[in-house]
Amino acid sequence: MRTSLVVLLALLGAALAASGALVALGLKAPLALRELGLYYVLNTIRDCASPEAVAAIVWDYRGLDTIYETAVLYFALVGGLAIFRAAKAQGFKKPVGLTELSKTSTRLISLLIAAVSVCIALHGHLTPGGGFPGGSALAVVAMLAVPIYSVNSMLERGITSTKLIAVRGAALTALGLVALLPVIRGLEIVTNQRFYPGAVLGFTISGSISMYNFFEFMAVASGFAALALYLSIPEEAFREVVERG
């Protein structure tokens, strides 16, 4: 305990001193945008009909990178489920959740988190947010509900991991369709403004950006919820398989 306190104070002192030495050597803080950032900030409304520069870069200027990243997420999930392949999803023999206090407060908090996550995902082309923060926030609800309500109650209501993986597959198919549809007219894939409308009935939807946000939200939320269900299979189910094999 004594040595770790001394080492910690020495590290803090070294950090403060080293930064002073760097300033004396001539390090300067950046004060202006780079050229590429300036182009994105000035031209985002004209090229992508979206006042949010980060969403425009993620889904329009660099849309192909995001499609590949969604594929990487999908394959990582498939690999994880393949490691756990031998046992079916099942609950405990004597299911017991936590106390009534935890269950009631979790119900209130889950409602609030679900509302906020849908708002973040659907409004992602006008304000900061998008599909990834919204989906991760909804996945936190799933990770909370599994230990507090016990896995058996989720399986009895019909929320199995197979169904969640099916929802995820449907959302990814819809995402792929939105990306591939412009090929019909002879344009490249992941085209935004030359194929999709920028505004519908006076509402700005920024072409394909809002559709991508919604489908990515469904895909991320259901994928991480399936992960939580797979993690909570009890150990007895695996013991027989391991002893046999």
Partner: protein, 132 residues
């Protein structure tokens, strides 16, 4: 003057964090501790990428339009932070979580098969099994 000092301080602290997390990956024996250090390393790299896009002016605003008028475009070209590093980090966070979840699944399965999460003991047990 003060901005230069704070910028240098953040750079030095991120370097020390990187060094500590690499020490944690290499020299700690538990596999779960290695996973925790790996998450700290990737988070530190993400923060340093965002630091590259930050400008030390007052006020520094995120690159979001509210009206779309040309005056706002002129204001944002002087005071907005760079949007490109943020887009790259958004992708990176989600990929990092998926790969770390895969590593966590592998650690649990290894514990079921070998009986320990200590890296050196696991190597010994697996070497004996191969020798049989």
């Amino acid at each position: 003057m003060v901005e230069d000092y704070v910028f240098a301080l953040i750079v030095v602290v991120l370097l020390i964090n990187t060094a500590l997390s690499i020490y944690g990956i290499v020299r700690r024996r538990s596999l779960v501790k290695k996973l925790i250090s790996l998450t700290i390393l990737s988070d530190t790299v993400f923060v340093s990428i965002i630091l590259v896009g930050f400008i030390f002016k007052y006020p520094a605003v995120p690159p979001v339009y509210s009206t779309g008028s040309p005056e706002e475009a002129a204001f944002l070209s002087q005071h907005a932070v760079d949007p490109l590093p943020q887009a790259l980090v958004l992708t990176g966070i989600v990929i990092g979580f998926a790969v770390n979840a895969l590593i966590a699944f592998a650690i649990i399965q290894l514990y079921r098969l070998v009986g320990t999460t200590d890296a050196r003991k696991a190597v010994k047990v697996l070497a004996e099994e191969v020798a049989e």
